[in-house]
Amino acid sequence: MQVAQTDIIARLRKDILIREGLKINAAAALPDIGLGSMNQAFPDKTFPTGCIHECICDDRSGKTATAGFIAGIVSVLMKEGSVSVWIGPANTIFPPALAAFGIDPCKIVFVELHREKDRLWAMEEALACEGLSAVVGEIAQLDFTASRRLQLAVEKSHVTGFVIRQTERLQTTACVARWKIRSAGSSLPEGMPGLGFPRWQVDLLRIRNGRPGSWQFEWNRQHFMEQKPSSSAIYARKKIV
């Protein structure tokens, strides 16, 4: 009896999500990205693909941390040997470092454009192209209309898009999720020298049909590993924007 009830509730929840506009792409059943308890925050408990994610950052370090976190996600999306496109101004990503995130750097096509308008056009074109696994664009200014255009481009092709925005000004956008990703201090066993695994402080500021929250992840060789935040790991935790 108890089991039947939870089943019904789960089914009803799914129905509500579909009515709220979530598109479940059954064909593209993804392997788990490994985000652990963060999956609870997403609608339907899976990382939303085939939509636009907006990631904001403050400075160069933050941008690099964001790019690294996205690279970790993209590496899972690229598992079937497909290609991704990275659109940014010149010299933003040093390709050999992508190998550490499980991506074959040869499989990323870099589009280097100086003007932001061009990058936006290129991103829209790339998102409409079927057969890509992900498109990452470094676009600081993204207004509602532009984000809506990106979202519309993605709806036909089911490509996942990431917009990295180094900006202070945040407007309403049509993106499904807004992230803020920063580096967090790594931790090592007591008395060990050197650096630990890279660690991120991930704040999911907004998610459509989901629950925002904060998490900490570590890149443990080839996959994400969730970390319970310990007071020692966070040296200077600023208030979330």
Partner: protein
């Protein structure tokens, strides 16, 4: 096929051009002059002045002494050359192969073109009438060889000789009609050989000995014994499609139809030959004598008209029809073979072979120009700046793999930025460093990793790299240039950001 050449001579090209700009000078006696050693030398005379006996090469003062009402204008030699090349472009509608011949003539290879105008007579008539419509004096002749046509246009009023009969027509003409050197012409005159008929049947070995190789070659050219090489203004394209229009076209819809039609014809032909185009030029010849063109490039050989049409559409704005376009051409300036393996992958490919991807990159390349899209491949260098190379091809592979195991930053600064540090000696990581005015305190550090100069490429100090994590968890890639030195403290630099 019997070759037929048409030569157009503009005897009054420069003065006609002046009259075109200034209608009041028509039918006037006027000359064009250049300054030469303090005197005015006549370079061109108008038809009316020519009838009075004034010829180029006279000094203007002498001519003025003879004729009081002679008008003198400054000559602009470059303008005439420009006009001639514009006329050559304009003549493309009569034949695809037009050559500029000297300073005042054009050469048209009319082989196989005349029937489109209803015969040779009509062809020459149309050409002459349309050029006369521009206000140009012309002398046009047609013959089997370039040499014969040239001689006829310059020295006779014969408009055309039938195939194979150029020898008889040439016989009474002076030796200069063979385009010989003035020295040779003078020598022939001195010997009493005043017409071509006097010496053309002499043994060639005799002519060769007395008048040089050039003379014999020119005779052979004129008689058609040797093919003369000429350089058309537009080299003939192997893959070219032409679409002449009855009425000038100036609407975007009309141009679009023309483009689709040409693309269809070209792609059909390429498909049947198993080739694909890499670059294509779509050109429109306007009725005002100007041409407009757009060029596209494809990342790999294609014969897919829908995609090619899309590429052209991106640049359609630059295609100005003006008063109307009467001829469209589409050239495949570069083609490649399409291999069978590519045909199999057509439509359904994964990864870098994906057709949709290469079409996307073509669109971007055509919009932004070359050099914006590339992949990175590992290069055989350990110096960080040189460890990757750009590749604009989607299919290029390298023998070397990526070298894992060494920590490399995700964001590498193109130029290392100087920092101020406080570091324990001799080779410990810094305790803290200041970059752009911000102090970073080192919490954890790793290193050093020494990277030596590649001495066969450049000399200088080695770098000792450290990975450093500051109090907020940000990680940096720093290096010290060279060894620690008490007298000359080594420079420290920030070279990248880790995740």
């Amino acid at each position: 096929m019997q070759k037929r050449y048409v030569t157009i001579w503009f005897p009054y090209l420069k003065t006609d051009w002046v009259v075109l700009r200034n209608k009041t000078l028509a039918e006037k006696n006027f000359v064009l002059t250049v300054n030469d050693h303090g005197r005015k030398l006549i370079t061109a005379v108008s038809p009316a002045a020519h009838r009075q006996g004034i010829y180029p090469g006279m000094v203007a003062a002498d001519a003025c002494a003879l004729f009081r009402d002679l008008l003198i204008r400054e000559d602009a030699p470059a303008e005439a050359a420009k006009l001639l090349s514009r006329l050559a472009e304009w003549c493309i509608r009569f034949t695809p192969s037009v050559t500029i011949d000297g300073q005042d003539g054009l050469l048209l290879d009319a082989t196989g073109c005349t029937h489109l105008w209803g015969g040779e007579e009509n062809y020459i008539d149309t050409l002459q009438q349309r050029l006369a419509g521009f206000g140009l004096h012309t002398r046009i002749s047609m013959a089997d060889t370039i040499g014969a046509a040239w001689a006829l246009s310059r020295f006779t009023t014969t408009r055309s000789v039938l195939p194979g009969q150029q020898v008889e027509t040439l016989l009474p003409l002076p030796p200069a009609a063979l385009r010989l050197d003035t020295v040779v012409v003078e020598r022939l005159e001195k010997l009493g050989l005043r017409s071509i008929g006097h010496f053309i049947h002499m043994p060639r070995s005799v002519l060769l000995r007395r008048f040089g190789k050039d003379c014999v070659q020119k005779i052979r050219f004129a008689l058609g014994e040797e093919e003369e090489i000429h350089e058309p203004i537009h080299p003939l394209q192997l893959y070219q499609e032409r679409l002449p229009c009855l009425e000038p076209i100036f609407t975007p819809a009309g141009i679009d139809i023309a483009l689709r039609k040409l693309l269809g014809m070209l792609c059909d032909r390429l498909r049947s030959e198993g080739r694909g185009l890499r670059t294509a030029v779509f050109t429109g010849y306007r009725i005002d004598g100007k041409t407009v063109s757009i060029t596209i490039g494809a990342g790999r050989a294609l014969h897919n008209e829908i995609h090619l049409h899309k590429l052209f559409l991106l640049k359609f704005g630059a295609f100005e029809p003006g008063p109307g376009i009467e001829l469209f051409t589409l050239d495949a300036t570069k083609t490649d073979e399409i291999t069978i393996s590519q045909l199999q992958l057509w439509g359904a490919g994964a990864g870098l072979h994906n057709t949709a991807l290469s079409e996307l990159l073509d669109r971007m390349n055509n919009r932004f120009g070359e050099g914006h899209i590339h992949r990175y491949l590992p290069d055989e260098h350990h110096w960080p700046e040189r460890s990757v190379k750009k590749s604009s091809s989607l299919l290029e592979k390298t023998a070397t793999g990526w070298r894992p195991g060494r920590p490399r930053p995700l964001h590498l600064l193109p130029v290392p930025e100087r920092i101020e540090v406080a570091a324990p000696i001799p080779d410990y990581p810094p305790m803290h460093f200041r970059h752009k005015g911000v102090l970073h305190k080192t919490m954890k550090a790793d290193g050093p990793e020494r990277i030596e100069q590649e001495w066969w490429l450049q000399t200088g100090l080695h770098r000792d790299y450290y990975c450093v994590e500051d109090e907020t968890g940000n990680r940096f890639w720093l290096f010290r240039l060279g060894h620690y030195d008490e007298e000359q403290p080594p420079g420290w630099f920030l070279h990248g950001y880790f995740v």
